[in-house]
Point group: D2
């Protein structure tokens, strides 16, 4: 018996990624597709067909016929009693209210930021801080919920925090400076980044992004402390830019470590990271959480984003740095923003909660 799963915000691009991620999942089955009132009661195919005849299905694999013919429900009228789990891919404004109404009854895993910064809400990446799931109990108690909300991080945080986690564990981290070059898919399609702004260009500013990444990184690498999380103490300084790349975020990272470490030790720590959370227990998990490249011309977004189905973080150009601190390292990484950084990352959280018995 698979778990009965709803995808809310199913017609948008984030929702479509859930449909793609859950197609043929071993224990999760989409039994409900929901979207705004405008789409409700239409077949999914009708709901995504535009007046000009365009079928707004943006995935690289065809729309599965099973989903095409399902009737889309109104997000405010989910059959909660017939569901085991909700994936929320709702735009942020509506997310707060909808997710609250679902969480009163059942687990919600969300790509929206609505709940990310609440004290009793962890942001979980299984190989890093699965233990933060301990906060679920606090959440239920504080809010009188039967379910809970687990948001995944901003897609730019994901790659950074995965690369930092083995460094923080093994050597300690004192300070971080990161410059990102982010894909246009991260901005979605409403309207996202328009062609006139991004061809032959860079946009140096993504509103609120830098603050989110700095704060989320500290929270995810923090420690569970009572009914809350003690944020990691090291400061993170980000510059987030948009570049003419379709998918996956590239980040240039400089880290001051707490103690001396050679480049080889850093690479080894990265390569070892996450070995306990693999595809055997978590079907969506990458075999290698971090792929460390020796070719100095890697990682490249287009050539490395699909490593391990878009679930691996690819790191390259690991080298010493003595400018940010006495013991430092700098490197580049590529992380797939619409796979590990979105729906597939959320599915991985669900898989981890299943292992923990919370779903």
């Amino acid at each position: 018996m698979k778990l009965r799963t709803a995808v809310v915000g199913a017609t948008g691009i984030a929702g479509q990624q859930f449909l793609t991620a859950l197609w043929e999942h071993p224990f999760l089955e989409i039994t409900c597709l929901a979207a705004s009132a405008r789409s409700a009661q239409k077949s999914y195919r009708e709901a995504i067909t535009q007046p000009n005849g365009q079928v707004a299905w943006y995935m690289s694999t065809p729309l599965p016929e099973k989903f095409a013919s399902m009737t889309v429900l109104d997000s405010t009228a989910l059959p909660l009693a017939e569901l085991d789990l909700v994936f929320s891919a709702v735009e942020s404004d509506a997310a707060r209210e909808l997710e609250t109404s679902y969480a009163a009854h059942l687990p919600v895993i969300s790509t929206a930021s609505a709940y990310r910064y609440e004290d009793d809400v962890p942001i979980i990446i299984p190989a890093i801080n699965g233990d933060h799931a301990g906060l679920v109990a606090a959440q239920r108690k504080n809010r009188n919920w039967k379910g809970f909300v687990l948001p995944i991080p901003n897609c730019t945080t994901t790659g950074l925090v995965i690369a930092l986690a083995p460094l923080a564990r093994t050597f300690g981290v004192d300070r971080v400076i990161m410059t990102s070059m982010q894909a246009v898919s991260g901005a979605g399609r409403s309207p996202g980044v328009i062609g006139l702004d991004i061809v032959d260009n860079i946009i140096p500013y993504i509103p609120k992004e830098e603050g989110k990444v700095e704060r989320e990184t500290q929270k995810i690498l923090g420690a569970l402390a009572g009914a809350g999380i003690q944020a990691a103490p090291f400061p993170v300084s980000c510059t987030c830019t948009r570049v003419p790349v379709l998918e996956s975020h590239f980040e240039a990272v400089t880290v001051a470590l707490s103690r001396s470490a050679s480049v080889d030790e850093v690479k080894a720590a990265m390569r070892e990271f996450g070995r306990d959370i693999g595809p055997r227990t978590h079907p969506s998990a990458p075999k290698n959480w971090i792929v460390v490249e020796e070719d100095p011309f890697r990682p490249q977004p287009r050539r490395d984003r699909d490593n391990d189905r878009g679930m691996a973080t690819t790191v390259g150009r690991v080298r010493e740095d003595r400018v940010l601190g006495p013991h430092g390292v700098k490197f580049c990484l590529v992380s797939h923003n619409t796979k590990m950084g979105a729906a597939m990352g959320a599915v991985l959280v669900a898989e981890d909660m299943r292992v923990r018995g919370l779903i």
Copy 2:
């Protein structure tokens, strides 16, 4: 009477930029075009016409007829007695030998790196370190030359060092971390960056670039000391990447200042910078060496690279930083790599040497 000027390496893209920069210059006149033996004795138009009929003129303004019909000379056989000045746009391997042979007789200003790291050779950007021209006397004496060699910096250094100069002067600089996103034009055309590698992609590595930028920045911001230069003491750490942008380099810069400075003070120092080196005395100089943008979505390479004919450095997103040091600032900049960072920057050096009576 204009100064009689040769452009060596005239058929390449860097040479073409000199032809464009010197077209209608008030006191420099191209009287000699030189290139490799393969082009010698052909008309310039013939020399750049390829077997398949393509006219390999890559500038956005048409090839002036005056140059088209000039006969290209062999670089090894310049009529030195009939020249006042040589601009060298020669590929690096040949540059050393050719520039040496010219400098024995007359001033050479070069975009090549051959002489950049010699003790008695300054890298001059007029608004920053025109006084380093004092080394010309040492050069002549050491090498028994009548002329001299003045190389301009790597095009990625140019924008960085211009933005840092007012900070170093006004507040002091302790440390710098920079991540660049560089245009494909910086790699030239032989073959440069191929489309298959850069569309929808980033290349995280440009061989030798980071070391050049770090070293040149310290040299340019250093102090003339006897017959050499005392490099600036602050460390610079760079990550240099290639992005799908045609022209101009974008750089995200974090600077630890030596003393406290507000964002407004930093902007004011930048805006004041270079006021004494303007178009009145230096025809190619920008009116504003640094344009500081308040719109947080600027600078953008495509929209800001042509500020002041490609000679201004455009800075934006100036904001506090507390991670690199106690008194810090971070910002983004755009600098035109094939204008200020190449031929037009070299012409500006010639103009400055003219003011100083060295040409």
Copy 3:
């Protein structure tokens, strides 16, 4: 005394092109900027500044301070008595009503399609069919207007019809097949073409575009006949696509001529075309309406779009064709869609009406 000119739709990108085109015009002066009610009573700078701080000025030259501080009026409340001319850059839905209200009082030249297909409304390109201005009298009579409306063609029509005009005149045209590759700027910014759809991609369909180009080409190359225009009798078949190019439309054209003509004769006819409508009488006119390239690798959008300030149509690869008809020719062209194909093309129409005494 310059003519007092209003630009309606001044805050949009088409409006901004008018501001740029009319900056320093010898006999037209912008005395009124108008836009929708949302912008009215704000300074122009305020009107284009977005809540996130972005200054939505998209031209490559800075916003002239004179315009920045002008107060934007509501399009429905122009001071018609204080104006000599209106340029309309209004989105199509509102254009019909607004242009009607202006034309009752004074001349309107428009980039909108609202009036393009009316029997008594010519679509004028001065070098081709300036004589169609004879319809203005019919327009005034039919509609009881003091002014008139002159729309310019769709930007994809412009290059095609300019290239066809000398062929139609000199050799006769029997049939035309055209495939376009159009720039993203042609779709504007609301939202236009989004980056996710166009990077590394082609969109094979632009709604209504093909029919517009086919119909407008026949109308412009038609003959004034009484109070209407006898459309040119030859059929035109178009495929219009969108490609990852920022500015200028590229078109591959095959033409069956009515009689035999050599490639050289075709080129000569093109090169001669429009010599009577030059910058001496029409300040915005190109010196050469059609630039014919011999280099087989031209025209290229990026390298040829700015020929003669974006007002020339550049043709290349002129060669025989025997498939569409017994006497045929095929060629490629580049035409700047946001210069000759938009505001500057409209200004050129105004200049022609001035010569004809209609303004």
Copy 4:
């Protein structure tokens, strides 16, 4: 027992596509990798590692370890007695001589054009003209070969001829006009199309391409006649351009049919085409040779190129045309130039020859 197969030109991008296509093939096994003398005797991994450390493996799936450790042989010294089949991915200059030497002994299937235009050499696309394999006997006799050479067509021909084949069979074809927008991957990497030439641009000319496509289309759709092929009699007129797309060629096609056919009949003929050559008998064949899209915004290169593993030709925008002839149709197509149009297309030919007992 699998057939022992050599890939010659294995280190280039075309060769890498063969390695990828043949990885896990049911009856073909690569037992020999060959390249130029420069690579010989190195391991494959060494052979593709450049002096700067870059591993020049350009496929989107990792280099299989099995190939990485194989020793590369010199192309002029294949162990012919230990091979059943050669795939040639050699650059054209060397192809003629090498393929001749192999074909004397065993079957050669080639992506090079060296033998394409010989009278006794067919260009086979299994669903269209598998019967042209009858020429193999003539080839052997004429040239005294034990093997034979079968070149696949130019990658731009492939999509066109597949789309035309059902039309030619069902309705007859009188004339064809085609404009292509071709991916940069079609130009390879030596140096192929450089970024500076193609970002924000179109190149209107690909030397020799148009003639190749015109001639190959007529040959493939021609009839086997004795010891040669009677080319199809209808003329084809092409304009071939290069656009900023990474993979897959887009073509806008206008066809004059020999008799009247509705759009629905044309679509039906396309959809039925190739049903007899499917994955059951030919493992690399697409399930649907032609996918006909109803969404007017399709086909798009990026979204449709991977249909059926890059082996399907996707057609859209099928509509009437009355300009090229009385019974006409126009449409757009996308065909994957480096899959169906290259190695995978060659493997499909091998599969067909296996069915025919020629391998």
